[in-house]
Symmetry: C2
Subunit: 403 residues, 2 copies
């Protein structure tokens, strides 16, 4: 299995796409760096996606103190600047002491989910930036990198893969028009890669995520199913797990889905953020570790109008819905609860603008977007309908390219 | 041993001092929260201080790419704004897109080093803020909290100690005149607590750390030896380790040193930062995980003038130098290489200002500072003299208080 998998990967010049800048990237092969062929970046963590994020109801229990006004010291310190977004969803907005400038910040860290260190570095950076983009903020002024170096790595492994991870992270920051200005490194049992992204910006740079209106439609800019693809790929090397899904997919399906997932996770949401202004977006959220529905519920809670979000369609990387189903629903994909890493933006757009938005983003980036639902009158909740339509998103996404 | 230790702690109303705001804090007892008496926060990490920070020579190997101009993408992205400080020492300075405003940021995360969750939260926040203060920046506009929740914690333990940690962190942010505006939480094998501190500030708020002049003196604002105190305290419960040091210290000595270390690590360097402006400081660094000498060397490398730093005196928490010596120098304390957490600022001051600085800070905060060395003509290096004088810093630091 391993040989087939590697041969397949070697046969492809993996194209890692950033926003508008494509790089031909030779897939990482341990042997090319004198590492043992069995070396896997993903072995330096035991958690991937599901189970990584602390459930909201648990978070609330111990983060309550952070949002209680006057707790303890007697002085309210909760930022009064709208838009206020949940702590668990990690967007920070603070006033600066200078005129009307805001300090918008986001931080996130991930454990290795793919085996290619360059791609992993890019994903970590794109993932950290995503929250800025969900507010329509396109200019990130400064990025810091967080690294937890796994104690379980040999010196050789460390010296081989860490510079590649850092390079991927840095290249992604450059694609974002930003720069890595500092960071922090410590040892940790697991490999950990994270970032802090900061923008100091005026109000006109922000699309306030609280203005969804009845009649809006919901547009999603990246397919779901990255976690399913990542797991399936790892199961190629695990006969027992593979046995559970081999009736519904081939090696080739899984390999293509994995490449599509990597490409998707490396892609910045920056063009989408820019187009939010052009097409008068009313609200948006990025989709990440909590899964589509949890992010939508959080967004719904923060709306000014009496609205609810209803999801009818789930665009999923080709074959991954079948895999998820074959796994007895361990991913909760059909419920909209499957975690994503560096997922797309889910944007509330006026109905008459949605088609133009999708067309524009496809023209600029070559990627499809999908109308996945509608905004109804309601009490600030979100749901996925009982039997949502699955949109199979091809692994081969662009004409004339390998996949 | 355990009973004696706990009884001793119970007998003291631990005073946790922030900058200018003292709080009477009842020491954390696991039983008070229906936790097992053997519960120790510090058991949720295997690394403390030494070994936690990645050595500079290793960092350089894989972070090189970050500071190489034109690496890869062909466009230089290194911030041109002075002062440029080493990546490993985690200070980030970026220009904003608005006039002459700078974005100053710092991030750091630590694993539990003390058993009191409230104190641990304060330490993590004070530690993250410290780099801002070393640049003379006194106003932190926004703090984000990073939490890695140990998977090894039971639900009960988690629900008990995490809210207390968050409260300590938040109280420290309030003491700093700032606010916690967001953050990120994930599971991790170890408990991890960190922060991101950001200030958007004009040039006049910054003391550029590159102007040390021959004849300046070096002033240190907190004693060394926090790591020795922390380890000694844990050895009270480890007969084998305790056996190595019991000839030079008593239980009571260790307990007092531990309390002094906790107090010191919770203390903000904010008043010191304010006084850097008043007394015309030429450069400063905070002292943390790399140890005094490493931080001095980094600062020396960044000087404009041909100077070197020479350290003659080492102020150390009472008895901790003897403990370090009894440990066969595992701490490298006498070489200036013992790691500190949330250590003091080391400030280069004009000779004629140093005494007034020390007097002022003591008047405002009740804490001593020490002249530890001088600035000589040299080639931007730093050293500790062969037999530095140890200044025993009393555990009982203020009149009329318990310790």
């Amino acid at each position: 299995m391993e040989t087939a998998q590697q041969a397949a990967l070697q046969a492809v010049e993996l194209e890692v796409a950033g926003s508008g800048s494509l790089t031909l990237h030779k897939p990482f092969e341990p042997e090319d760096h004198d590492l043992d062929p069995s070396f896997r970046l993903t072995s330096f963590s035991e958690l991937k996606g599901r189970g990584l994020k602390v459930p909201d109801e648990i978070l609330e229990k111990f983060l309550d103190g952070l949002s209680e006004e006057g707790n303890g010291a007697g002085d309210g310190y909760v930022p009064s600047v709208p838009p206020k977004v949940g702590f668990g969803l990690n967007c920070s907005i603070a006033p600066s002491r200078h005129g009307t400038l805001n300090i918008i910040q986001t931080t996130d860290f991930v454990y290795p989910i793919v085996d290619d260190p360059y791609v992993m570095g890019k994903i970590a950076c794109a993932n950290a930036l995503s929250n800025l983009y969900s507010l329509g903020v396109t200019e990130c002024d400064s990025i810091m990198m967080l690294l937890g170096i796994s104690q379980q790595m040999s010196e050789k492994e460390r010296e081989t893969v860490l510079p590649i991870i850092v390079r991927g992270f840095k290249d992604c920051a450059i694609e974002a028009g930003s720069q890595v200005t500092g960071g922090q490194t410590s040892y940790n049992p697991w490999l950990m890669i994270g970032g802090v992204a900061t923008s100091v910006c005026g109000n006109q740079e922000i699309v306030s995520p609280d203005s969804a209106a009845v009649g809006d439609v919901l547009v999603l800019t990246k397919p779901l199913g990255t976690q399913v693809a990542i797991h399936s790929y790892q199961w190629l090397e695990n006969p027992e797990k593979w046995g559970r899904i081999k009736l519904v997919v081939t090696d080739e399906d899984v390999r293509r889905a994995y490449l599509r997932a990597m490409d998707s996770m490396c892609r910045l949401n920056r063009v989408a953020a820019r187009l939010m202004h052009k097409f008068n977006a009313h609200a948006a959220t990025d989709i990440s570790g909590y899964g589509l529905l949890a992010h939508l519920k959080n967004l719904a809670r923060n709306q000014k109008n009496d609205v609810s979000f209803v999801v009818h369609n789930l665009p999923v990387i080709s074959k991954m819905a079948a895999v998820a189903k074959a796994c007895g629903n361990q991913f909760s994909l059909m419920q909209g609860l499957c975690p994503e890493t560096s997922g797309g933006l889910m944007i509330c757009l006026p109905r008459e603008q949605a088609a133009a938005f999708c067309k524009d983003i496809e023209k600029q980036e070559g990627y499809q977007s999908w109308i996945i639902g509608i905004v109804e009158k309601g009490n600030r909740t979100a749901r996925v309908i009982d039997k949502p339509r699955i949109i199979e998103v091809p692994s081969k996404d662009r004409e004339g390219e390998l996949w």
